[in-house]
Symmetry: C2
Subunit: 205 residues, 2 copies
Amino acid sequence: MDEKLVLHEDLRSGNCYKIRLTAALLGLPLERKTYDIMKGETRTPDFLAKVNSNGRIPVLQADNRFLPESNAACFYLAEESRLMPEDRFGRADMLRWMFFEQYNHEPNIATLRFWLYFIGEDNLSDEQRAQILPKRMAGEAALELMDRHLAGREWFVGSSATLADISLYAYTHVAEAGGFLLADHANICAWLDRVAALPGYVPMD
Amino acid sequence: MDEKLVLHEDLRSGNCYKIRLTAALLGLPLERKTYDIMKGETRTPDFLAKVNSNGRIPVLQADNRFLPESNAACFYLAEESRLMPEDRFGRADMLRWMFFEQYNHEPNIATLRFWLYFIGEDNLSDEQRAQILPKRMAGEAALELMDRHLAGREWFVGSSATLADISLYAYTHVAEAGGFLLADHANICAWLDRVAALPGYVPMD
C-alpha cells in the first residue's frame, strides 16, 4: 500500500492493538496518534468532526480517509494478504468470528477489563455493577465456545492464522485483567502461544 | 452459486431477514427452516451439535457447511455481486457499517424491539427493565449518527446499495416496534424508501 497510514488509538485498547498487530504481521508502516479516552479526548468537537463522529477509537486513517471499527480496519490492511483465507467460504467464516468477537466477546470481556482494571470496581455506577455478573457469564460462554472450537484445530479458520485469530487474540490474551481465568481453557492457552509466535508479532503496549 | 442454500431462521428476527433480503436482491434461491427462539428451539442438543454451537439464528447452510452471524452470511452470498463496493476502501467501509450495526445498533434497537414488542414490558426482569433507558439512548444515538451520515447521500457507502444498507435496514425499518420514532430522522426515512424500492426487494414476514 502506498498510502500513509495513521492509527488513531488509545494504548489501553485491544481494539486498537488488533490493527497494530495486523500491520506488524504484514510489515506495513503505521504512524500512531494517541488519545486518552478516559479524559474525553475522542469526544472533542475536533475529533468528532474530523476523525470519527461516533467518538470512538480506533480509527485507521489512510491518507485523508478515515475508517472506524477495528475489524473493518484490519480487513482493509489485510485484504490481499496471507491473513485472508483463499476460499470464499473461508473468508465469510473469518468474518463470522470477527462478528462473534464484536457481539459476544468484546462487550463482555473487554468491558469487564475496562471496568475492573482501569476504572476500578469501587468507581462503577450501580448500573454498571449490576452488569458485572451477566457480562461475566456471557464472557465465560464466549471463551468456552472458543475453547471447544479450537479442540483439534490450530487456528480459527483453515490451516493458518487469519484476521479471525488476530481479532479474538486482542482481548482474550488480556482477559485475566477482567477477572476471567484462562488456565481452565487449555486449547485457548495453546492458541495464544501460537499467535504470539507468529513472525512479526508485537506485544500490546 | 451451485450450492444448496438453507437459511435457519426465526421469522421475527431482523438478522435473519438480512440474509433473505440479500438473497432476494441477488436472485439466489434459499430454502428456509424456521425455529421459534422463544420456545428454545435453537438451544436443543441437536441444534447446538449440528447447526450452531452458539445457539443462535440465523445460520446460513451451504450444502453441509454452516455459517452463523448474519452479516458474515450476507457477505458470503454477495461477495462477487453488485452489493459489494468495487474498491478496497469501499469494501472495508461497508464492513465498518456492518460492525457498527452489530455493536451500536442491533444490541439496542433490536433488543428493545424484542423486549417491548414480543416479550412485553410487564414480563421483563428487573435487570432488563434497568437496561431500557440506556438502550433507548444508545439506540437513538445510533439513529442520529446514521441520519447525519445520510445527509446528502443516497447510500451508506458509495453510489449504490451495498450490504451496509441491507444490514442497517433490517432493524431500522422496524425500529418503531422498539419505541423509536423514525419521523424525526428525515434522511433515514428517505433512505428506507430507497431500499424498499430496490428491484427484487422482499418485505419482512
